[in-house]
Symmetry: C2
Subunit: 162 residues, 2 copies
DNA sequence: CAAGATTGAGTAGTCAATCTTC
DNA sequence: GAAGATTGACTACTCAATCTTG
């Protein structure tokens, strides 16, 4: 026998709930972030990574790795952020292929303004929906899913290779 | 005292796991769907709603309600899908403002081809990550979040009015 | 003027091609 | 040749403006 063709009732409900809950939450937080601070989710992510790095600087590929973005997406987005004065590009002294991305004063102040309000929204929209143990359960389940996805991608990595 | 300023360790981990798990899962499923069937998530959603409707036809606003999209997004997307021959627009006889969106033969065959493989991927990538009770727990937690978001949006609806 | 729907301009993301340096 | 990064063309989403009918 193969696997059964369709999802049963419980499977389908779990799937739908997971997808729609996430979609609603992200949309809401993105709108709040944008109207509070003028930053998109993408802007916020870049600024957080940079602000956590020493000197507010990271190699572009490091930034790409941490945010798990396509490199072209990152490059386009950095161009737009640079145009707005939030970041700057600088050549890398030790590897001339490389580029450093550096937080500007404006970028630092933007993330420092935005972060507290954003965290408040995350708390209000997400955290307070759950009890402490509910939050732990949810984290465990999501970590389980992440591990599952890691395993699947692991397998595929050594697929048709000799 | 107000609410505490930052998320604690457990809250932050739950938040990060929830966001990244969803992002990875959706990205993976979207790529699989696109390479299997040449359909985007958005195409798939439209086609599913239409194929479940009698005659494969829905009013545009009905489609918008079911997928919870902005109406301009829907309109643009229908234009692109119509250009590809997946759907057709037809005037509504009872309300001349309105438009019907109708599945074409090509559109119906596209969703019938795509659905089984997509469901298999959902099973493999998502469902099999969990035990039956894990799946139920996850659904309950997501439903709780959805109810929380409903309540928040409810409040906002009657904010500064009258 | 509300509701149903479309359009245009601007911003974002993806894919393939490219360029340079290791 | 592969790693680091950028570019261009194309597709997709958002917002505000618009158009038409109820």
């Amino acid at each position: 026998v193969g696997t059964p063709p369709w999802l049963d009732e419980e499977e389908a409900r779990a799937w739908r709930s997971f997808i729609t809950a996430q979609g609603r939450l992200r949309g809401r937080l993105a709108r709040q972030l944008l109207s509070d601070s003028g930053l998109s989710e993408a802007d916020y992510e870049v600024l957080v990574h940079l602000s956590e790095a020493p000197e507010g600087a990271l190699r572009a590929f490091e930034l790409g790795r941490r945010s798990a973005w396509e490199k072209s997406r990152l490059s386009h987005h950095l161009t737009r952020m640079a145009r707005r004065g939030l970041v700057e590009r600088q050549p890398c002294p030790t590897d001339s292929r490389g580029a450093f991305v550096v937080l500007t004063a404006l970028g630092r102040s933007a993330i420092e303004q935005a972060a507290p309000r954003h965290v408040e929204h995350v708390r209000e929209d997400f955290v307070t929906a759950f009890s402490r143990s509910g939050l732990e359960d949810l984290r465990r389940l999501c970590d389980r899913l992440l591990a599952h996805l890691d395993a699947l991608e692991q397998e595929e990595g050594c697929d048709g290779n000799s």
